[in-house]
């Protein structure tokens, strides 16, 4: 059982860690993502240099971005910065999950921010995407 708490600047701890659920990368999900970002690259539905269909490189980014939702009720937030390293393609049929850790929180110009580093891995623990993101907290 998870006890969800409202996300506030004070509640958030630097060093806090999150783990997502595992997601099976289905052809339908890859197709929906391609529609959402209006990018119908043929590698998403057919052969690719990686031996079969792959997902868009940023496909699992929302899994990472929503890590804090695994513990908090997030009132609203804005995404301020994003960094990616694309280490290996996300292939259709993989099961992927993301892990993250809060590495900083700060206030600037009366606004509150949190910084999270993350890695998205396949079912063997092989890292696929690594990076960090900064999110602005919007108060209730």
């Amino acid at each position: 059982m998870t006890d969800f708490a409202p996300l506030t600047y004070d509640a958030l701890r630097i060093g806090e860690e999150f783990v997502s659920d595992t997601m099976l990368v289905t052809p339908e999900d890859v197709d929906t993502y391609a529609f959402a970002v209006d990018d119908e690259h043929p590698w998403f539905s057919g052969p690719s240099p990686f031996g079969g269909p792959i997902a868009h490189p940023t496909f699992a980014a929302n899994q990472a971005l929503r890590l804090r939702h695994s513990r908090y009720v997030v009132h609203a937030g804005l995404h301020a910065k994003m960094q990616f390293e694309f280490l290996a393609p996300i292939r259709v049929g993989m099961r992927v999950r993301s892990r993250g850790r809060v590495i900083d929180k700060y206030e600037r110009r009366r606004k509150q921010y949190m910084v999270t580093e993350f890695v998205t891995e396949d079912e063997t623990g092989t890292p696929l995407v690594r990076g960090q993101f900064t999110q602005m907290l919007i108060p209730a």
Binding site: V37, H56, P57, T58, A80, K81, F84, P89
Partner: protein, 137 residues
């Protein structure tokens, strides 16, 4: 077809991408939720926005598309991106994604191609800005 490093030059402008963001695109990207600034217009207005907002992450997908068109597998495996979201993107906006080659750096197995990237809305306002890179052979 990925471009060869020899065909690139610092200062070279990449072909721009045009993206029209509809609420349907945002819904497909974010998943429809109540009390979401992305998919609940009343909630977005309550939070001070004129309508629903696209997720900033959608702009990273557009940059990724531009880089994959340029470098192919050399971006999908070994690519990087660092982007700041400087202005909101709203449902109904039209974005132009632009890139200019900033640096060509030899590295083992190829050339690291570093590109200045940014997105502009229909009013010419920059909404996201940063760099992206990948390798060309």
């Amino acid at each position: 077809m990925a471009v060869a490093a020899a065909a690139l030059a610092v200062g070279q402008t990449l072909p721009p991408l045009e993206k029209s963001l509809t609420q349907r695109h945002i819904d497909a990207y974010s998943g429809v939720r109540v009390r979401s600034i992305h998919t609940d217009e009343a909630w977005a207005r309550r939070k001070g926005f004129r309508t629903t907002l696209a997720q900033g992450m959608m702009s990273t997908a557009y940059v990724s598309e531009m880089m994959t068109r340029l470098l192919g597998a050399g971006f999908v495996r070994g690519g990087t991106m660092s982007v700041a979201f400087v202005k909101p993107v709203y449902a109904g906006d039209r974005l132009t994604v632009r890139g200019v080659v900033k640096e060509l750096r030899p590295e083992p197995g190829g050339t690291r191609v570093v590109v200045d990237v940014w997105c502009e809305n229909q009013d010419g306002i920059t909404t996201a800005i940063g760099t992206a890179s990948g390798t060309a052979s």
